[in-house]
């Protein structure tokens, strides 16, 4: 195992992590401000990917496809918030889980109804395909590198938005005291819709970016959704910083676990059972990580008490 390969795996873990962050940021914001568990967040990711694929097929432009993913997911998010989600804010988590579970069913089968049962096509544009050589002779796909940069840029933008803008102040105020900002004359209903749409747009954007190198298909959102939940729980629910740290931790654990564990097992068992055992353990690794973190910090790394 060479150092180059290991560095490449770390980059892969990082790339996976920043994409998870795009999903997790919305989830954690929505939970932090509105106290809502949204299982349908993965559906918005899927909506973004499908919108991007449809737009790319119609126009041939990847940039337009990305824009479409943002718009479509934000619109779907706002629509769902206005019709269903806002009735759930004062309910307990149980009702929220069930209602958003129902939304998953509707979104998934609805998408299949509109787009059919076969995966859609979305590809990396020519100007982002191929690989670049990084210092140290590491050859790395340009698109993945771009994804890392975009993810980090979005994270920086989000931090700036929350720290320095008026809406950011309101979001922070909403997290600490809901009645207070209402009393201050902020239109809470509109603020909530806005935050929900923002979270949805981020998820849709992630869906479009990832859709270009994966399969755009119905049900693509659920596995990512569960990972995003793991991320925000590790990071501490409501904390954007926690989401970033958690996402990168999960990304690295998953990638490096799948890479290193089977190799570790070959040290004391034969190759083929080491492969199966190692892979089995690697598949469980992020859940072990999460259980471990919660045992020592029951509210996550950056969660409040």
């Amino acid at each position: 195992m060479s150092i180059v390969l290991l560095v490449e795996q770390v980059l892969n873990g990082l790339q996976f992590g920043v994409m998870l962050f795009l999903m997790a940021a919305g989830l954690t914001l929505i939970f932090g401000v509105m106290g809502l568990i949204n299982l349908a967040h993965g559906s918005l990711y899927m909506v973004g990917a499908f919108a991007a694929a449809a737009t790319a097929a119609a126009t041939g432009s990847f940039l337009l496809a990305l824009v479409a993913s943002l718009v479509a997911a934000a619109a779907a998010g706002a629509l769902v918030e206005l019709t269903v989600i806002r009735r759930l804010y004062d309910r307990d988590h149980l009702d929220q889980v069930l209602a958003t579970f129902a939304l998953i069913l509707i979104f998934s089968e609805g998408t299949r109804w509109v787009f059919g049962s076969f995966p859609l096509f979305l590809e990396v544009p020519d100007y982002l395909s191929g690989s670049v050589t990084l210092p140290g002779g590491i050859e790395y796909p340009l698109y993945r590198l771009t994804m890392i940069l975009i993810g980090l840029a979005v994270a920086a933008g989000l931090f700036a938005l929350i720290a320095h803008t008026r809406i950011g102040i309101r979001i922070r105020a909403g997290e600490s005291d809901r009645e207070m900002i209402g009393a201050l004359g902020v239109n809470i209903a509109r603020l909530y819709t806005l935050i929900f749409a923002l979270g949805a747009a981020l998820a849709g954007f992630a869906g479009a970016l990832i859709g270009a190198i994966q399969s755009v298909q119905v049900g693509m959102g659920e596995p990512v959704l569960i990972l995003a939940f793991v991320v925000i729980v590790i990071g501490g629910i409501g904390s954007i910083k926690g989401a970033l740290v958690g996402a990168i931790l999960v990304g690295l654990t998953d990638t490096l676990g799948g890479f290193l564990l089977p190799r570790l097992f070959t040290l004391f068992m034969d190759a083929s059972s080491a492969m199966t055992m190692g892979s089995a353990l690697a598949a469980m690794s992020i859940y072990l990580l999460m259980a471990g973190v919660l045992l020592f910090r029951p509210t996550g790394l950056f969660g409040g008490p």
Binding site: H93, V97, S108
Partner: protein
Amino acid sequence: MRAETILNAALLAMLVAVALWAWTADEPFIITLVTKVAIFAIAGIGLNLALGLGGLVSLGHAAFFGIGGYAMGILASHAQSYTPLMEWPLLVEGTKSMPVIWLVAILAGALTALVIGALSLRTTGVYFIMITLAFGQMFYYFAISWPAYGGEDGLPIYVRNGFPGLNTLDPIQYFALCFAVMCAVLLLVARIAASPFGLALSGARQNPQRVQAVGLVPYRLFLVAFTISGAITALSGALYADLNRFVSPTMFSWQTSGEIMIFVILGGVGRLFGPVAGAALFIALEHVLGGLSEFWHIYLGALLLVVVLFARGGLIGLVAGREVAHD
């Protein structure tokens, strides 16, 4: 109270009536559906003990359901192939006897729930939902990757296991058995709820401080409830595996946890018979809507939404009024 009691009796009567009608009309599939209702109801009753009485929102009960299923699958597959389960340090043979399988399922479920509960109960709220989900996922991935018992292919058992004095292969007899188990579990949970432990648990859900003040430890109350809950759900997993004569990692999937939770919420959280009503409604819907359209999940989703948004207290709450709901 009264309306709910009548409703509960009517529910049980309806299940039996449907099964008997299907039996006389020679519609064995309907009997299978009603049996499925009884079995899922048991899983829901198990979850409801943690969820309704203890307020523990577990999204990982599929772990116990699956453990019960695999207890049946592993024991029966060894009996089927006449290979011992283990030879050292003591010889353990497989078995095709339901009572033994149930006992193993209950013990395995309780033990797993004890460990998962002991760890998970350190957290509360959303963290608890998510950590139970994570444990469920661990079992799921383990079951898929572990080749000894079929991995993702699952484990077929060719003949349903036996119960003394019954021909379990006969649908109506197996239904009777599952129905009896369901009634026994209902009785057990009713007694638990009315016992000092149940009252303390209920109190701990509403106000942990107050319970602490009288010298009880909420953590222990919750842990005991979670353990019993896991054991009951594992029992239903064993029954379900026998209904299908097949176990697979799907039993561990998070969608299974979600469905068990849906039975509870549809019926009414904290209502003793809630899961029975919920499971009956869900399976009836699945059966009817599935016949209407290829895209029946949309209708199912819409219906669930309506229940959550407009029929709080679930089916039983809707019919019996909200006065006896736990809160």
